[in-house]
């Protein structure tokens, strides 16, 4: 029997039982819609998180610390260490930083300015290191030669939206140092040269609460010693950051440094999101499985009802194979129709869910997390439909229908013609 004929007969049979066919198909539609919808939302969520993380993390920038971040910092880096790092392949820029944890900044009237940390940097290099984050809001960056200026991060310079310091204002920098067992306090008067734009979080370091002075000033205050607590490294491509990290580790004695590689963190988050999506798919697949059992159930009933018909077909010369394919064709058609409608239902469903989710997740409901970015956009999930998932879901629908249709179809095919003919 020709395939086209088998399909047209199957279609005719399905059309004769409209309600039953519709309900059976509905099961498949729901299953496929769930798979497609969850896949699209999962993919959209992953993309959104990825984009936020890419914006929140400077993926091009590696941060090197002496010793261990968790177990305690080791000896600061020497200028030789810095130039060693400069020699590593795929490194486009290196800039060291001195952190002055004991430094405090006060206005001339004694009022304290809320900078968490004071760092000493080369401003020109830092701008090149973090072009999107290290931006001027006001004033001008100090040149490398200056040694009496200070630059404030956005949040250090403002309080509740109003500026705490002005450009050109003079502030006092106080720092406790220990040299040869002697504790001493150093004071220096510096001029406010610039205020930075709000930069958000780069990796784990938020410069918005920092104040910066030129390297030269810090070196001078520390008695001429050039020791760095942090080295920032810009790689040519985030993809090679891990290799670059390994290469940098090779330049130092084992276990003497820690390197923060944001892209590896990203990869981990990505793999977690992947896992989450697979998990969602697995749940959605269960609904398709249930639909499959529905098909099996309804087809078994259908075969029983049509026993006599099968007997007639066999009597007039239909082979068991023909009977089998006639019933399987019905299951396949349900799969095709259910899959097709399910895909579009899934599309619609995912847009509806994304819309609701976006309404629920407004900016005020988001806490200040690692992922917060300047301006803090609301979290918007747009469903992403990949052809792979769509095709896979469609094929899955048909395969499930065929698998579950196989048992009743075989049952029909194996019917004894004489008994089937006399079935009431």
């Amino acid at each position: 029997m020709r395939v086209g004929k088998i399909l047209s007969i199957a279609l005719e049979n399905l059309k004769q039982r409209k309600l039953r066919t519709t309900l059976t198909t509905l099961g498949v539609v729901i299953g496929i819609a769930a798979i497609i919808g969850l896949a699209a939302l999962g993919e959209g969520f992953r993309l959104e998180v990825k984009q936020r993380m890419e914006a929140g993390f400077e993926l091009h920038v590696l941060i090197i610390f002496p010793g261990s971040i968790t177990a305690g910092l080791g000896q600061p880096f020497s200028p030789t260490d810095v130039s060693n790092v400069r020699g590593v392949e795929n490194v486009s820029l290196v800039t060291p930083m001195i952190t002055l944890p004991t430094a405090k900044v006060n206005k001339t009237n004694g009022e304290r300015i809320g900078a968490f940390t004071v760092g000493a940097i080369n401003f020109t290099e830092m701008q090149a290191m973090l072009p999107e984050r290290f931006k001027l809001a006001d004033g001008i960056f100090p040149t490398a030669d200056e040694n009496d200026t200070i630059v404030f991060g956005y949040r250090a310079a403002t309080h509740n939206g109003t500026a705490v310091v002005d450009i050109g204002e003079t502030v006092n920098l106080t720092m406790k140092i220990e040299t040869g067992g002697n504790r001493m306090t150093i004071n220096k008067t510096v001029r406010v040269a610039a205020i930075l734009q709000e930069g958000g979080t780069a990796g784990i370091t938020n410069f918005d609460y920092w104040a910066f002075i030129p390297t030269r000033t810090a070196v001078q205050m520390l008695g001429g010693e050039e020791r760095y607590q942090m080295i920032l490294v810009r790689v040519s491509d985030p993809k090679v950051s891990e290799q670059v990290g390994d290469a940098i580790e090779g330049k130092f004695d084992p276990y003497t440094i820690s390197i923060l590689v944001p892209s590896t963190f990203m990869q981990q988050v990505d793999s977690i999101l992947n896992l989450l999506q697979v998990f969602l798919m697995a749940i959605a697949s269960i609904s398709l499985l249930v639909a499959g059992i529905g098909i099996m159930n309804i087809m078994t009933v259908s075969v029983m009802e049509r026993t006599r018909e099968v007997g007639i077909l066999k009597a007039i010369g239909a082979k068991s194979r023909t009977v089998l394919s006639m019933f399987l064709a019905e299951a396949t058609l349900i799969g095709v129709a259910g899959g097709f409608i399910g895909i579009f239902t899934g599309y619609g469903l995912s847009y509806a869910v994304a819309n609701v989710l976006s309404r629920v997740m407004q900016p005020e409901q988001q806490s200040d997390t690692l992922f917060s970015t300047p301006g803090r956009k609301p979290l918007t999930i747009s469903p992403v439909f990949t052809p792979e998932w769509t095709i896979a879901a469609f094929v899955f629908a048909i395969v499930i229908c065929i698998i579950f249709g196989l048992y009743p179809a075989r049952k029909a095919a194996k019917l004894d013609p004489v008994k089937a003919l006399h079935y009431e």
Partner: protein
């Protein structure tokens, strides 16, 4: 105790010539229907053989047997056994569709066959819209569509009134004479036995009597 096996047929042996109109006659439970099912390859015998053109059909596998039914045997049943959801035309087309004949040829041949049995005007009607006689004529048309050599009819008039039954008998006679097809008809109807070239009387699975009837016997 256990199940007691009751043979429906035992030691039935006869041969049928090409173009014969054979009536198998007998009371209920005499084994008529079983014999017909065996002849048509719907059922398999526990013992013995059924030869068609010298080939023991029960040595064929299920697929080949189905092919035999499709191409060389036509069935006509007491209860017509038309597919209820298909139109008269589609019912007649069915064997050709199963055989894989092209759509166009199928329809053409089916229409021609309906015309032959006088039901051209009823082509688009479904079985429930047809009278018993009409349904049986559709069933005969379906049995004939593949141009089989043998037509097996199981009580073809059993579910029809006397007049309609007679018309069906005449139609079968006409086919037998015009097309030379071999008819084997299981019946209760003594008129068929009279019309047949030969009548076999079965009782309790055995041949009781064979009546030659010169009338209608083809040379």
């Amino acid at each position: 105790m256990g199940k007691v096996k009751v043979p429906a047929l035992q030691g039935v042996s006869f041969s049928i010539d090409k173009g014969e109109f054979l009536a198998i006659f007998g009371p209920s439970g005499s084994g008529k229907s079983t014999l017909l099912h065996l002849l048509g390859g719907l059922d398999r015998p526990d013992m013995g053989e059924i030869l068609i053109d010298g080939v023991d059909i029960h040595r064929l596998d299920d697929g080949k047997l189905a092919e035999l039914r499709l191409t060389r045997i036509g069935f006509v049943f007491q209860f017509f056994n038309l597919l209820p959801r298909l139109t008269a035309l589609k019912n007649v087309e069915l064997p050709l569709a199963i055989a894989g004949v092209s759509e166009k040829e199928t329809t053409e041949r089916a229409k021609k066959m309906l015309r032959f049995v006088g039901l051209e005007a009823r082509a688009t009607h479904r079985p429930y819209e047809l009278s018993g006689g009409e349904q049986q004529r559709v069933a005969i048309a379906r049995a004939l569509i593949n141009d089989p050599k043998i037509i097996l009819a199981d009580e073809p008039t059993g579910n029809l009134d006397t007049k309609t039954g007679w018309e069906i008998v005449q139609l079968m006679k006409r086919l037998n004479e015009e097309k030379g097809q071999t008819f084997i008809v299981v019946t209760h109807d003594p008129r068929i036995a009279e019309e047949a070239s030969r009548a076999i009387y079965l009782r309790d699975g055995l041949i009781e009597e064979v009546k030659e009837n010169n009338r209608g016997r083809r040379a």
